[in-house]
Symmetry: C2
Subunit: 343 residues, 2 copies
């Protein structure tokens, strides 16, 4: 190869090389790169040409070291394969990219010890900000984050004591509202299909508790480990049908902590010729893209992931630009969406 790559060929082009070729000081090139408007057009032209000729690529590593601004934001998600996070993550990235920041990704695997290790690695990169999923962190993590003085946004939850900033919604309230809504529709028989993610579990518990308090009705419950899947929904309904008394007096609602599980329930129902919602009702969570297009269309709880991501990124950017010190908490709420899978 004839390239002048850093690996094999000559030393990489530096800002000083560009400056020499352009006949200006290195500082002028730096200004051209960072605040072009402070450089006069004739000078800009010289610099531009020199950059083109040399094929110079700005080195933000060195700049960051001096200025202690990396323009890096670390985003920690539990699992990239869980589509519930995709919209928020996409929105975060979009917003940050537009503002000239880049995303350093961390995957915590739903474990706060793993998150703690991750955070150490992340902090060693000196990100300008950190966006976390959830409010469940080790004490060490919280202390380190505070000590580092990095702006932090926690997402997907509300908590009494955020590390710094927070955007999310109340999972307790979501569970409660679903229970009340279904009780209000006249349902008295419930099944709950959940995966063991911490927030989903809290919704489920809140749901059960509300039922116990306000309905006094029976509840079949099944919990899985890992990611929500169609298979769980199918399996869950099969098991439920076996557990159900044959003299079941009224229709049962299957409440799922994820739309994906709910879609599995609908699928299993279709495969058995069970009519939804007449014989069996189904409630999802998330209002993912497909929820409006299942058959029958899925009643669910809408979470606006895009809004959450956008809000999180915006809060962070505002803090990064201005100096508004106020810790802020934003409740983006949720919305019950009644479609055809429930009465």
């Amino acid at each position: 190869m004839s390239s002048e790559g850093k690996g094999q060929g000559r030393a990489a082009v530096t800002l000083s090389d560009v400056a020499r070729l352009a006949g200006v000081a290195p500082m002028t090139v730096s200004r051209y790169l960072n605040q072009p408007e402070t450089v006069r057009e004739p000078t800009r032209l010289k610099v531009r040409r020199a950059i083109e000729q040399t094929g110079y690529v700005h080195n933000r590593l060195a700049g960051a070291l001096k200025s202690s601004r990396t323009r890096l934001v670390a985003v920690v998600v539990p699992m990239v394969t869980n589509p519930i996070f995709s919209d928020a993550f996409q929105a975060i990235n979009e917003r940050l990219a537009k503002a000239g920041y880049q995303v350093l990704l961390g995957v915590s695997g739903y474990q706060c010890e793993q998150e703690q290790e991750l955070l150490e690695v992340i902090l060693s990169r000196r990100p300008d900000g950190i966006i976390l999923t959830g409010t469940l962190h080790t004490t060490t993590s919280r202390n380190r984050l505070r000590a580092a003085g990095v702006p932090v946004v926690e997402t997907w939850d509300l908590s009494a004591e955020p590390i710094d900033m927070l955007v999310g919604f109340s999972h307790e309230q979501a569970g409660r509202d679903v229970a009340r809504h279904l009780l209000g529709q006249g349902y008295r028989h419930f099944a709950l299909l959940a995966v063991d993610d911490p927030r989903g579990l809290r919704r489920a518990d809140s749901f059960s508790k509300t039922l116990a308090e306000e309905g006094g009705t029976d509840l079949y419950r099944r919990t899985w480990q890992g990611l929500p899947s169609l298979a769980q929904g199918r399996e869950g309904l099969s098991a439920l049908l076996q557990a159900l008394p044959s003299d079941q007096p009224g229709p049962c609602v299957v409440v799922c902590t994820s739309d994906t599980i709910a879609q599995g329930v609908l699928t299993e129902a279709a495969s058995r010729g069970i009519r939804v919602p007449e014989q069996l009702a189904v409630m999802g969570f998330g209002d993912m893209a497909f929820a409006a297009h299942t058959f029958p269309a899925l009643s669910t709880v809408r979470i606006d992931g895009t809004l959450m991501g956008h809000t999180a990124a915006t809060m962070l950017l505002e803090r990064l630009q201005g100096d508004s010190v106020a810790s802020k908490t934003v409740d983006i709420g949720f919305e019950l969406v009644k479609r055809e899978s429930t009465i």
Copy 2:
């Protein structure tokens, strides 16, 4: 707040502070951090204590500047909300994290001009390696990448002229194999539902071409822009049914460039009481997690995203560790999975 954050309080703790407190040279602390086995236990202990006392967090920014190794790998995906990439992305991240590398995320939005801009920003971070999606890049991008001398792995495709390393499968062959398989099963009436992503389109074109050459049969085709969705599948089948002659002599296969679209077709079929595969057959692509659990179970083309991601990361890491200069191409292949949605 009483924290010693970089923002408000005192200056951040540096490696030299730790060294002073431990009564050793800065270099010894650096060794402790990077190759602890080269430091004797008594010294290690002193350093460990000093780090704990000061709450020191390693600054890899400065280290990277000196050593020109960032331990950063940039990963560019078209869209994080497209679940087809999730498994591969997850596998990449896992493999890299285990090896002490971190992922810098880039989202190209399926546009190679956008990718080009992204690449400039990415290169300014001096990543040790780059993993790209697809082989469609601007000439400028290819040149810059080569000039930078960064190891590059392109994924999700095979191409005559990779930039550096490559792992994927042949979309032409996939389209052809699907066509031949279905012709072999006796199908003569075809519909094709596609989204306009470049690789899906190539599969679709190859499929159509093979049909024209080897089957001479009719083909209904519909293409959407953007991400694959359930809604497209439902809409696509509705439109197809209207377009179909009422005296249709045999069953039709709906071939989709994504499992998600195929799931939509199954959903629409179920909602209309159309029996699959007797009255209508459906073929997906991807073998995503749900494909084995739809009703009926979806025949599809399996792509092992986890394997692809793992392979890509491993190739990169090998290059980063050893100095094997050989450009390598890996064909991970694909597999036709016959389930119940086709005969």
